[in-house]
Symmetry: C2
Subunit: 290 residues, 2 copies
């Protein structure tokens, strides 16, 4: 599932791989978020070793049950190089297990710096290789040119922050740009128009982050703008969103959503993790078939 | 110079330490940007080892000549844990040498994730400890609450992206927020009003990033808004700005600027690096005394 090379030798796009994962393994994505308090509850030390054990346990519990995981890089960064070593082991194990990996890094910068971030996470064989990463366009949608090129070349994906699930982001993301649109809509529309210029069947490779707790219309967005755009949808469980509200939030774009849950599942603890994922996965499948 | 504890045992603020560095060592900040092409030109391998040698050379050349360095994290991240190990060594050497270190990480996220980023870079004793870090407020100025608290507690600083030096950022940063202001101005004004609530003499500890190639008025900003706000000013040298234009760009806030140059100095190569820093430092001192 993780090979980016199709039978004809052409590199599969991230959008194709994502669509195939949706088909075979559903839409649930488990966050690999080793919060210090969770490490404590799980009985793991708050160290590189603890992070590594945590990451591997989540991968093991996800394996064969779901198709996507999303490590939150911030919790690994706390331990510097030891944390990154734990993340490398986790990323490799996840990709080895056939899971699609979205590195939740929210990187953004300009020029050669943002290109270096894309190289860090999207280059085949790089120590931190993932299948996609989250990025920020605060320095302009145009600042993402290098990551888009690189992702296209390697069959990788990007998820650009558009309308996030935290209420304090509202003022920023509903700021009105020169075209008269909300910033969140510009980001999402630019992605649809510019980034996904080709290879959008069945899905584009460039997606947006739209939190599960938001109302699309509040950001000038409509599900019709997002027909072939992957949507990373965090905010389920701990942050308050419920699978049952998926369709009312994302409308016809629900079929493109990566439905992400972290603490809501991770709080089950290492022993009950596999069962918690089974239960959430079944619940989500029900919501999709409703 | 790096001790955050003053004689009375009170923790010195970042603003106090920055003002003191301006006084004793001037305003020049050298970027530690190990671009792959620079590693090649310097004759260093594009590896963790090469990054480490590069970082240590810049620190050695800066030692005793200037007061501030700014490692660009993206170039270290390319090599995963090995890159972060090189960065740890570089950060430690820089702080040991009495340099004030601004980690150019441009991190941003929400809730406990952004808090984890702040812990990563600002906690005393953390493997990646720096004196300040750059952050993004795309997820709202409010999303920076935890980093502000943490920085205050530890005498550390933050530089929030406001008006950056790349032209493609203009549309985003001049988006108009609900209050009718440009986003860049809201970020900068919120910082002045909210983040630097106390301890703003002689300088606040919470600054903004305003590229040297911008015109303040284009973003609705005035030097009068920035009287006690540290300004990280990248864009000199390679990106086209000249020290002679400092006063026309930053006006009366010029005295708060961290004047950052990277490639313009680093391209001198390891042998001529110390002389290049001497020359730029003298040139900048002249611009300040003009």
């Amino acid at each position: 599932m993780n090979s980016a090379t199709g039978s004809a030798g052409r590199i599969e796009t991230f959008g194709e791989r994502l669509a195939s994962v949706f088909e075979t393994s559903g839409h649930l994505c488990v966050g690999i978020d080793p919060h210090p308090y969770l490490l404590g509850e799980w009985g793991f030390p708050d160290s590189g070793k603890g992070l590594r054990e945590f990451g591997l346990r989540v991968v093991e519990a996800a394996h064969g049950q779901i198709g996507i995981v999303k490590p939150q890089v911030a919790f690994f960064e706390r331990h510097g190089s030891a944390g990154y070593e734990a993340l490398e082991v986790t990323l490799a194990a996840a990709r080895q297990a056939g899971l699609l990996v979205i590195a939740d890094a929210k990187r953004g910068d300009l020029g050669t710096s943002v290109e270096a971030y894309a190289q860090s996470w999207l280059t085949p064989g790089a120590p931190l290789e993932a299948d996609a990463m989250t990025v920020s366009a605060f320095q302009g949608v145009g600042s993402l040119a290098a990551p888009i090129l690189l992702a296209t070349e390697y069959g990788k994906g990007l998820f650009v922050l558009a309308a996030t699930s935290n209420p304090e982001s509202f003022a920023t993301q509903t700021a009105i740009v020169g075209s008269g649109e909300y910033l969140a809509r510009t980001v999402a529309a630019s992605i649809v128009a510019e980034m996904n210029k080709s290879n959008v069947s069945p899905l584009g490779s460039f997606g947006v982050v739209i939190g599960a707790t938001v109302t699309l219309a509040d950001f000038g967005l409509s599900d019709r703008d997002l027909v072939t755009t992957p949507i990373l949808a965090p905010g389920f469980g701990f942050q308050g969103a419920d699978f049952a509200s998926l369709r009312s939030t994302y409308g016809s774009a629900t079929s493109n959503t990566v439905v992400s849950s972290s603490r809501g599942i991770l709080e089950a603890g290492p022993g009950a993790l596999r069962d918690a994922i089974t239960a959430q996965s079944a619940k989500l499948a029900l919501a999709f078939s409703a």
